[in-house]
Symmetry: C2
């Protein structure tokens, strides 16, 4: 798997947490990674930020010798020169990203792919920052990006999308291409939809925060780590599959949709969420919870291999 | 784990697929299981229906010697006599369940728990079928019930809920108690909410059925098999946790909720769903898809152990 990215020049823009995870991932798979950040302190912290993800990747895929290299730069031309993929992780501020793109565009190699990790913004919002947006794709990783395989892609140049997705696949990712731009891409739209109902159930007193999380982890979440939601309803239709399901239970599904909640994040609801999640955390701080999440994810990823 | 249910008398009402999975599960954990069904043909098929789940449980937990017993009955008094737990899996028809409860109630042991596996109905709808509904709980398993650990419970007698949940735990299940009755319990409400947005994205052409399923399985689904949705937003808030998330991103989350879809299952949408899932299935029939789902679930469950 490493061979594919051996010596591939990849630029990472932004040395924050997401940038550091991308850097660790590409280095682990053999790439020549150059990281740019306008803040010298961010570059100083890069090695420290990469250490944990690098160690986790080494544990997950020990066969991937860490043969790539990483270097830090505060000059854009140094990282963009010859880069085939430029993974942009600037703050989620449209003006800032547009300003950055204006500086990047003249320095890009002619076939380079400018891939934005943006979570909140869309391709259509980002594209006006470039005189020729063919080079731009959105490539949104899911947190933590070096462990969760999903990368959601969108762009208008199919050839660049193909090449970008080949790079992500070579880095062990699972790219999923969208046909149309949408705020929140696919995964965060699904997450928002599910969380809205989870918040509704807290607001209505149907179940506690911890109970809802336990139901998800031991029920649909577990199943959705194996089969998607559409496929689950296909199997829920018995021998008739999705067509049978829709014919027999479509009307009751529409009634259930109509009965789902539309909560507001009022002070009371926010308090219930904060109190509930603190009770669920049972004294574990964020760092501990993240460590436990990562360990559990790694066990599942090993089981999938 | 088996010791807990050794010689525990459990009645299963209904020898269909759900009843057979419950039977396999309880027998695997040592219980004395008596299965009732009004249809002799259903009882004839029980052993065949239990065979697959029993073999999967044996593979998952080989330390649990299959020391329980199972017997088939067409007389209610034979299965109810002395049963501490009566797991009811009758068809999802309120009149039919009420009629069955009227026959059951005089035959129940004084402390017996009547647990309905109902998916579509609520405790409040079922309770009027009994003169004293203290004995009734809903205990909804998630498909496939012998592999997915979740059992959602609700009732009004805390002591019976405690005892029922202890039995489910002894059978390797993860019971989750609701504070209030709700159609769809917790998990199917979450599933409906997520699927509504998944259907919306198909209807709007944002992504194909297979792409949405791949995004879920490789992204939020994988993560939700490890941490719940509330906890994921807690970790998404960085050091500020849920409180920090709500303070900084609560308003944008409310805007995203407002932008989620409310699709209808029109003929066009239904066609897109059926065509999309058939493309995703790529020639695999329902039985093959179920086998692959179960094998993947078992690998994850082993990794969790």
């Amino acid at each position: 798997m490493t061979a594919d990215l051996k010596d591939t020049p990849i630029a990472i823009l932004g040395a924050g947490l997401i940038g550091a995870c991308w850097a660790a991932l590409f280095v682990h798979h053999g790439a020549t990674v150059r990281v740019w950040d306008p803040e010298p302190t961010a570059l100083d912290k890069l090695a420290e930020r990469m250490a944990g993800p690098s160690a986790q990747l080494q544990e997950l895929e020990p066969q991937s010798v860490r043969s790539g290299t990483v270097s830090c730069h505060n000059k854009l031309d140094e990282v963009l020169d010859g880069a085939v993929l430029v993974q942009e992780n600037a703050p989620e501020n449209l003006g800032l990203k547009h300003a950055l793109y204006a500086r990047i565009e003249p320095l890009l190699a002619s076939n380079a792919i400018l891939a934005s990790s943006t979570s909140a913004l869309t391709w259509s919002e980002l594209a006006p920052g470039l005189s020729n947006p063919d080079c731009l794709i959105t490539a949104h990783p899911f947190n933590p990006p070096h462990l969760v395989p999903l990368v959601e892609t969108f762009g208008i140049d199919a050839e660049r999308l193909d090449r970008a997705e080949a790079i992500y696949r070579a880095a062990g990712r699972a790219p999923v291409r969208m046909n149309k731009d949408a705020t929140g891409h696919i995964a965060n739209r699904l997450s928002s939809a599910l969380w809205r109902e989870a918040v509704h159930m807290v607001a209505e007193g149907i179940a506690d925060v911890a109970a809802i999380d336990a139901a998800l982890v031991n029920g649909p979440g577990l199943r959705w780590s194996v089969i998607g939601a559409h496929m689950a309803y296909h199997l829920g239709g018995g021998e008739g599959g999705m067509a049978g399901y829709l014919a027999h239970l479509g009307p009751s599904q529409e009634r259930r949709w109509a009965s789902l909640g539309a909560p507001s994040l009022t002070p009371d609801v926010c308090s219930a969420l904060v109190d509930g999640v603190m009770e669920e955390a049972a004294g574990r701080d964020i760092a501990t919870l993240e460590r436990q999440r990562d360990a559990a994810l790694m066990a599942l990823l090993k089981a999938r291999q």
